[in-house]
Structure formats: structure tokens, C-alpha cells
Symmetry: C2
Subunit: 349 residues, 2 copies
DNA sequence: TTGTAAGCGTTATCAA
DNA sequence: TTGATAACGCTTACAA
């Protein structure tokens, strides 16, 4: 494997000159540069990134830590991260499935010296605990943190307001017995959605009832299971708000099997607007979250931090959500026609 | 930031000893080791990966190059890769969206010195062209290559046999006018599926007709657009095989809008079995591809290569597919009941 | 404009 | 069992 020294020898210059040519910041005689390029391509020379970052203390790589890599939502977040990072000449070192503080620390430690900053999704207090130690050595940007962390910029999802809007919409359709399939305890988005649900009810003058809230875990199977529990309640709920689409889909599937029609017997609203939502029969009303933008914003904040490391400027952003009304809640979309001209466009960028 | 030297000083030993303690291969006096551990944790010392890989020539990182990061299929591949890599103490440097040879080379070059090997999805001859040059410096494992590449292990999808089985199934249901929405030209899986479709017809004594094949691009919108073209054909096809699920879904959506019923008027079969397929109404019959296993196998092959770099053992694997019969093709599942007990389990591992 | 040489933080080879 | 010290491949003062 050719090194900078080989190139220097072949081109008849010093290694410093080769380095200058490759970095393009210092002036180099044009002829000399041509010789260097020629030698480099003759030897098929590729600079060694590890060696480079050892001296420069920069890696052009962003670490990405996610709780999981499963499903549409995370995959969109990653895509957003990757795309912007790539455009800004950064690479991404990805790692999924981190449950404990030790997991997170181990993963981060393994990245030491290989990344310039860490973008981390830390939706519960368990994972976010590790951040304090990491923060001392690396810039960290958090996605959906349960609380503000010193010195970390972050992007959150407007879960509270989204949930409130979803409930308000159901109320507007005349529903009073509105149940919820909640997300995992400790997860900040799950809890914010639950809080938004309760607030939405209160604002409509409806007293939230504990027995109308069934605990789920964001997975489809827990939505499926929730149906049985909710159908036993008296009065029986006429509408259900699920803390995410996966659970809403499981729920709809169970309702169908129980011989109930959505939205006629039970209205259903989800959260996230994953691709699948629009293809459900009936199409799922849900709160749209732009996961791609979420990933992009996180990277943007990281780039800002990296550009001004001592600035200590901390930005806390929230990504807005919007209720996407489809027919699973019994309302008709604003468009008059019943047969749309084509599939809804995906959020391809 | 504490370095090995700081630890050595604090522990009152040489840097060599610290290194030995951290790598655990050479014998070190137990008391000395304890001192080193104490010093290291007091200083919160994390070894620098770049420095380490500069001397060892190993990075414990795998590069992953994908054409795109969009959708269920790729996300499952990544998950398979990440999970196995992680279990084997490797990190993953991911990069998506590579269209041209230059793109691929640039991305790979940027990884130089940061990865031990490259797992690359190269479904067309354009992307695979770059491999020869990369192969000289790095072990490469290919996913779905259009042809065998010297010195590269690879995993392919059994696209041909899957397509043939899909068509055979339609034939078995009595269909004779079977159309196809093909994938992008140049993509090996698209072409194998087309070949399998033709073979399936021939084996049933049906002459394939060019006008029954509509070109798509693997995206939903192209499936949607294909419907119009196919409905114009005379005789009108009674069944359509789409080269992937996204296009099948777009197609179904268009058929519905045209007032046609699936499977009564037109039977539809897809390919991939993405999560959404089971939730379509009617649920989509499709050829199941275990994308998670695909990713895992690729990593396994890479680890084999890495374990025996000079061995030059090249393994070419194919991942089997299986027809998943649901109701979009008009057949009933083997199970007697019409209302399954729960959602189909996802391929969570 | 170019070259020399001193690091960067490790591991690995020798001696001791 | 330990310690000096020479790499590893690069960037970057500083000097020429």
C-alpha cells in the first residue's frame, strides 16, 4: 500500500509537499503539484484517515447512537442524518440497540478517536445518564431527550401538542369516550403523548379515566393486545388514540378480527405517520412526524457545535407535527373527491 | 484529554505496561495492573482508536455502502449488518446513495484507514465496476452483485426462482394473461425477476409477450403508473406480477382507483414481503426475502475473509426466498380460518 | 515555494 | 515482568 513517502519519492519532492498538494490549503508550485498528482495516481495512493486524524485531531466522522434500527421511523432518521452528513463531507459511524448506560458508554468509548461528535437518540432517562461523561470529551447532540442536558443541543418532537391536537380532533367529531394505548414508561415521547391526551380531554371538559389508558410498548403486538382490554371497558370507548402508528395498526387489526368496523364502531388515531399509515384500510389518521427532518436537524446542530466548539452555544429545537386526517377516525379529508389521483407522495427529501 | 502517557505517569509505570494492561494479551503483575486500572479510571482514560489502528493496522470497523437508505428493505439489511457486526465487536461506517463509480470510489477512499473491510450492495454493473480497484486494498463482500467479482465473496437473492414460483402460482390459479411490472434496467434483481417471470410462463406453455411487461423503477409511483398502461392492453391481463412490493402497492392503489377489485378483477403478486405487504387490503401475496438475514450473511462472509485474509477463500451464497400466499392473488391461505389470531410476527431476528 | 523534523497516541520489538 | 524506543502515516511549525 503506497504511503505519502512513496508518493514523495516518486514525485521527487518531500512528504510535506505531497501533504500540501492533497490538502490544498498552502500554495504549491503548479508544476510540482502536477508531478505529485501524477505520482499519486500512478501509485494509486489513498491517504490514510487514521493517520490524518491522529495529527489533526479531526475525523470527519459523526457517531450516531440509536436505541434501535427497527422500522420506518428510525430508518428515516438515519437517512436524514446520513444525507446531510454526507453533503457536509462527514461520514457516519452508526450503532443501534442500546438499552443500558453501560451499552451506551461502551459504544461511545469504542468510537473514541474515530468521531468528532455524537448524535444520540436518548428518549429515556436511562440512556441520557451516560451523556454527562461523554460530553466532557465530545460534543453531543440529543434527539428526543427526556430533559435538557448541560451543554447539549437537542431536537425534540412536539409530542405533547400533537397528542392534544389528535384528541381535540376526536372530540370535535363528537367522541367523549376516548381511550389511549400509551407507549413504554420512561420514554419521553410516550409520556408527552399521554400528557397531551389528558390535556386534550380536560380542555374538552372530559375527565380522563385511568382505566381508559392501556400500557403498550410502541410495538404492533402491544396495540393488538390492547384492543381486548379496551373492549372490556364499560362504557366502551368509541375512539382510541395510539401513541404511535405501529400500535394503532395492531389495534386496527385486532378490532377487525373482533368484528368491529373502523371508524364506524371505533375511531382510531395514531402518531408518526409511517409510510404504512396511508395504506391501511381505512387509511390511518395520524400525527405526522418528519423523521427525516429530525435527523437532518440533529446533524445541523452538530455541525454548528463543531464549527464553534468553545462558543458553548446550546440550541434546543422542537420539530413540529401536524395532524394528518384520513378516514380511520371517521372524518373525510378536506378534498371533495373520494378517489385521490395518486398515492400520497412520500417525504422523499 | 488523558493519554496513555498520563496514565503511565499516574500509575508510576511505563506506557508499555499501560498498553499491556489494556490489551490483556501479555502477562502483567497483578498489583501493577490494579494500579494502572486505578490510574486509568481516575483520569477517565479512553484509548484513542485512531492511534491504535495506526499501529495495528486494524480498525474493528466495517464499511457499509448502500445505493440508498430508503424504505423497509434497506433498513432491514442495515439492521442485520449492524447487529452481527456489533456482536462481533465491529463498528459500522455507513454510507448511502451511491449512483456512480465516482461516488463509490470517493466514499470508499474517505474510509481508507478507517475500515477493515467493505460490505457493499452493488446491484448493477455500474457500481460493481469500482470494486476491482477497491479490492486491491480492502476485502470486499458484495450484496446482490450482477456477476461474480474476482476475490469477492457475495450474497445474492434467489430472484429468479422466486419470480418463477410466483408466476407458477398464478398459473396454478388459472391465469393465462399474466403481466409484469419490471424493475429498473441494469439492476440484477430486477432482471432476474423478469427472467424468472418469462421462464415461469414458458414452463406453463404460455408465450411471454413484450407488451405485457411494463418498465418500473422499484418505486411505488412507477407501480401506480404501470396500471394505466396495463389496463389498455388487449387481452387485458388478469394477473400482474410486480418486481417488488412497493410497485405492487402502487399498482393496487391505482387499480382500486380505477374501480377494479383485487383479486377479483386483477390478481397481484409482489416481491420482498416488506412489512406493509401484510397490511394491505387485500393482504399482498409476495415472495418473501429475509433482508435481515441478507445483511447478516454478508457480515459473516466478511468476518470469514478477515479471519483468513490470505486464504483467498471466496464464497458465493444465495439467500432463499419463499412465496407467501395471501389474498391479493385470489387464493386462500392454507389455514382454514379467515380471521387469524394475531398479526403475523415480524422477522424480528 | 519547499524541506526538515517534531509530534499525534498507540503497539510491538528488544533488552534488561 | 517491565521499560526504552522505534515504528505507524500523516500534518504542521519553522527554517531555508
Amino acid at each position: 500500500m503506497a504511503t505519502i513517502r512513496d508518493v514523495a519519492k516518486t514525485a521527487g519532492v518531500s512528504i510535506a509537499t505531497v501533504s500540501r498538494v492533497f490538502n490544498g490549503n498552502t500554495a504549491v508550485n503548479e508544476d510540482t503539484a502536477l508531478q505529485v498528482w501524477a505520482a499519486a495516481s500512478a501509485l494509486d495512493y489513498w491517504p490514510n484517515g487514521a493517520a490524518r486524524s491522529l495529527t489533526t485531531n479531526r475525523t470527519s466522522t459523526l457517531g450516531v447512537l440509536l436505541p434501535d434500527l427497527y422500522g420506518d421511523f428510525f430508518s428515516e432518521v438515519i437517512r436524514g442524518i446520513d444525507q446531510l452528513a454526507k453533503r457536509e463531507k462527514y461520514q457516519t459511524l452508526v450503532s443501534g440497540s442500546h438499552a443500558s448506560v453501560e451499552d451506551v458508554l461502551a459504544a461511545t468509548r469504542a468510537m473514541r478517536g474515530r468521531i468528532d461528535g455524537l448524535v444520540m437518540m436518548a428518549p429515556d432517562s436511562i440512556t441520557v445518564e451516560s451523556v454527562a461523561r461523554i460530553r466532557r470529551r465530545l460534543p453531543v447532540v440529543l434527539i428526543s431527550p427526556p430533559f435538557a442536558v448541560d451543554g447539549c443541543s437537542s431536537v425534540s418532537i412536539a409530542s405533547f401538542s400533537g397528542a392534544r391536537a389528535a384528541v381535540a380532533h376526536l372530540v370535535g367529531l363528537g367522541h367523549r369516550e376516548i381511550a389511549m394505548v400509551a407507549g413504554p414508561a420512561g420514554n419521553v415521547d410516550a409520556e408527552e403523548r399521554l400528557r397531551g391526551y389528558r390535556r386534550g380531554l380536560l380542555e374538552a371538559g372530559i375527565q380522563p379515566r385511568d382505566e381508559f389508558v392501556v400500557q403498550g410498548d410502541f410495538r404492533e403486538s402491544s396495540g393488538y393486545a390492547a384492543a381486548a382490554a379496551l373492549l372490556d371497558r364499560r362504557p366502551r370507548p368509541t375512539a382510541v388514540f395510539a401513541a404511535n402508528d405501529c400500535m394503532a395498526i395492531g389495534l386496527m387489526s385486532a378490532l377487525g378480527n373482533a368484528g368491529l368496523s373502523v371508524p364506524h364502531d371505533v375511531a382510531v388515531v395514531g402518531f408518526d405517520n409511517i409510510t404504512m399509515a396511508q395504506y391501511m384500510r381505512p387509511p390511518l389518521t395520524t400525527v405526522h412526524v418528519d423523521a427525516y427532518a429530525l435527523g437532518q436537524k440533529a446533524v445541523r446542530l452538530m455541525l454548528d457545535t463543531l464549527a464553534d466548539p468553545e462558543g458553548g452555544k446550546v440550541t434546543v429545537q422542537t420539530i413540529d407535527v401536524i395532524l394528518k386526517v384520513r378516514s380511520s377516525c371517521g372524518a373525510r379529508p378536506a378534498v371533495a373527491t373520494n378517489t385521490p389521483a395518486g398515492p400520497e407522495t412520500n417525504q422523499q427529501r
